[in-house]
């Protein structure tokens, strides 16, 4: 019996409670305006329904955790369990196998030792399922009855229902926050494990990156875990080359679209530009790796740079810049369009030309939004993976030459986590440390962007 079934049962009961609550509330109706019930019947109905469903949801969540434990306990207490090894890997494997067969997830046991455990598992699961259903139904009925009995003409069901709905909305918004927090904690945990093996100073300031994935975990050379080349590659590709492409193109297109373009043209071009943001990044990756990178190499060779690479930072950076043009232009567009037209008229009436008005009034007024757009674009670019995986190099390289191969943090994370090392090898753990740094940087960028927007909005409004 899965939690889904329990919830379906509860929903049926909730519907019954809803109908009963409404029926009772209808009986409160009175022709005398002074004696009309405080809340409309629909709120009484929802009040009862919520009292059925919410306690059940709480119980189901709890039961989903407790029931497997209870099943396990009862199986271990059975006589068949005495033949099990006392502890360790085999014991867990047998138990897991027997459980899977009992639940119908596996066709049969692989280890014969698990066979005698299947029957006790079946029995225990059936036993606790029955108990679960009974408790669910009891809770639903008890909650519903309690709520039903409280219904009175003067009972304010509406305020309670609304308060409950508000709490549900609050919980929904907390889920996202708690997930972020959970990701953060798990990253921190793995990162700390990595830093026990390689010191943060070696990691953050070392200039050689080349984790030896074949080396035994207890004979690690910390000097091969210097992440500076990766940080540099990430910044060079994502924050420098990409921005050199994206900022001018994005801003100029935003200025053209908001200030010069005919509205009919704008209605066409703006959505088209925003489609760029919807192109899967792997498609950009193809373009970078198969079209642009060879072009750049050929061009470089043609002007006499013989050692130009096909995996150049330039190709990845340019394509990434194209990818984030919509982020820059759409934020710039929105914030320029949000500048009051009174501001523009004031400047034009002073005899300023259109371009003077844009440069001296509209652009400065829209600057906070533009800066925030750029920061979000940077944080997007340095976290971008597919383009660099396909177009940039897997080999870390600390150089200023954009024609040379370069690697980024995200490329290394992919490389390290798709390898075949065990999860506690420092090479694997270093991926978490890299992810942690990336996470902190993008978090800081987003945080600053929001602060910038807020501060300037206060100043200008």
């Amino acid at each position: 019996m899965s939690p889904i079934t329990l919830i379906l049962i509860a929903m049926g009961l909730a519907l019954a409670g809803w109908l009963a609550g409404r029926a009772k509330a209808w009986s409160f109706q009175s022709a005398d305006p002074a004696r009309r019930p405080v809340s409309r019947p629909i709120y009484h109905a929802w009040y009862v329904a919520l009292w059925v469903i919410l306690p059940v949801l709480g119980f189901v969540a709890l039961w989903a955790v407790i029931a497997p434990q209870l099943v396990l306990q009862s199986v271990l207490a059975s006589s068949a369990a005495s033949a099990l090894p006392a502890s360790g890997f085999e014991r867990d494997a047998f138990l897991g196998e027997a459980r899977a067969v009992a639940l119908g997830l596996a066709p049969g046991v692989f280890n014969d030792e698990a066979e005698p455990l299947v029957a006790p598992f079946r029995a225990a699961i059936a036993h606790y399922n029955t108990i679960g259903i009974i408790i669910t139904v009891l809770i639903a009925i008890a909650g519903g009855a309690l709520a039903f009995l409280r219904l009175r003409p003067e009972f304010s069901a509406r305020t309670r229902v609304e308060r409950t709905v508000m709490m549900i909305l609050l919980v929904a918004s907390l889920v996202a926050i708690l997930t972020t927090l959970g990701i953060f904690v798990s990253l921190v945990f793995e990162t700390v494990r990595f830093f026990r093996i390689v010191s943060p100073a070696d990691f953050l300031f070392g200039t050689v990156w080349g984790p030896d994935t074949m080396a035994s975990p207890d004979r690690v050379d910390p000097s091969r875990y210097g992440a500076v080349p990766l940080f540099w590659g990430t910044i060079f590709i994502g924050a420098i080359i990409a921005m050199i492409v994206a900022i001018p193109l994005g801003l100029m297109s935003a200025i053209y679209l908001t200030q010069y373009a005919d509205p009919r043209l704008r209605a066409w071009v703006k959505p088209l530009l925003e489609i760029l943001a919807g192109v899967p990044t792997v498609v950009y990756g193809y373009f970078a790796a198969l079209t642009l990178a060879p072009l750049i190499r050929d061009a470089a060779v043609a002007v006499g740079i013989a050692n130009a690479s096909t995996e150049s930072a330039l190709a990845a950076g340019i394509v990434m810049g194209v990818m984030i043009i919509p982020f820059v232009s759409s934020m710039a567009d929105d914030s320029m369009a949000a500048v009051p037209s009174a501001m523009r008229d004031g400047s034009l009436a002073m005899g300023a030309t259109k371009s003077e008005t844009i440069r001296r009034v509209l652009f400065p007024a829209a600057l906070p939004g533009i800066i925030a757009g750029i920061m979000l674009a940077v944080s997007r670019a340095i976290g971008e993976t597919m383009i660099v995986v396909m177009a940039a190099s897997p080999a870390a390289n600390l150089t200023l030459n954009p024609l040379e191969p370069m690697s980024t943090v995200t490329v290394q994370i992919v490389k390290l986590l798709t390898g075949e090392q065990s999860t506690d090898h420092p090479a694997t753990l270093s991926a978490f440390a890299l992810g942690f740094v990336l996470f902190m940087v993008t978090l800081a960028l987003n945080f600053i962007a929001l602060r910038v927007v807020k501060r300037f909005r206060e100043a200008y409004e």
């Binding site: 008229d345 009436a349 002073m350 005899g351 030309t353 003077e356 009034v361």
Partner: protein
């Protein structure tokens, strides 16, 4: 159709408009208006909402150009030069004909930069010292200097509504215009700030030709020497303010003045 009181055509008029029509798309918003604006007086445009008085005012500095659908016909001359001809650039025109809007619209810059904006654009002052002089003079003329002289670096938007409007007037004055157009300059302000603006208009008249659009007949009576009454896109009557308010010729003017409509 239009009643113009004697002595209203002026040989040395600052602005001379003849048969001006403004269309918004197909709609006729201003219907053959002719008027002479004297350099020495404050001229008020009054009339009910939607009568076209603001639209007509915006013809004088070609602000209607910024509205795509608007089209202006007829001739408007500033000191004898047609403002739509190639002989006058719109940038030049707007430097000579300043404008103050209904809602104060200081730029999101410092008080100082707000005033210095026009002089910098038009190349009137390059050096900081020259700009300082212009800023002080403009703010003084707008009656704002004493209130802001210690905080010229503060944002213009941080001032009160009335101060912001005087800042906008100072901004217009800074490029030394010949005409100042005011489009209901006090309608967003409280009575005390309004009184200050009216006082200021009085002080500025004579130095600049001032044209003010106003909803308030009392305001027109207080600040102007000449009044034009607009109704449904036409100029109904134009004459000395005292005559318009005490002894109007047209029936519609009389009805509006006495509050029968509008």
């Amino acid at each position: 159709m239009t009643v113009i009181h004697p002595n209203m055509t002026d040989a040395n008029a600052k602005i001379r408009a003849r048969d001006v029509c403004v269309y918004y798309g197909d709609k006729l918003a201003i219907d053959h208006v002719s008027i002479d604006i004297s350099p020495d007086y404050v001229t008020a445009f009054i009339g009910p909402s939607g009568c076209g008085k603001s639209t007509f005012l915006r013809c004088f500095n070609r602000m209607n150009d910024t509205i795509g659908a608007a089209r202006v016909t007829g001739s408007i001359e500033l000191e004898g030069v047609d403002i739509h001809s190639g002989a006058m650039d719109v940038v030049q025109l707007r430097a000579r004909v300043g404008m103050v809007f209904q809602k104060p619209n200081p730029f999101p810059k410092s008080i100082y930069e707000n005033i210095a904006y026009g002089p910098k654009i038009h190349g009137i002052a390059e050096k900081k010292a020259d700009l300082d002089v212009i800023v002080e003079r403009s703010l003084t003329r707008a009656g704002l200097w004493d209130e802001v002289k210690d905080r010229l670096g503060d944002p213009g938007t941080a001032l009160s509504g009335g101060q912001q409007q005087r800042l906008c007037i100072a901004r217009a004055i800074a490029v030394d215009p010949e005409v100042i157009l005011m489009d209901e300059p006090a309608s967003a302000l409280d009575p005390i700030a309004t009184a200050k603006i009216e006082e200021l208009i009085d002080e500025l008249s004579g130095r600049y030709a001032i044209v003010i659009v106003t909803h308030s007949m009392q305001q027109a009576a207080r600040v102007s020497q000449r009044t034009a009454f607009f109704h449904l896109g036409k100029m109904v009557e134009y004459g000395p303010t005292s005559e318009i308010f005490t002894n109007p010729i047209e029936e519609r003017t009389k009805d509006y003045i006495t509050g029968r409509y509008g």
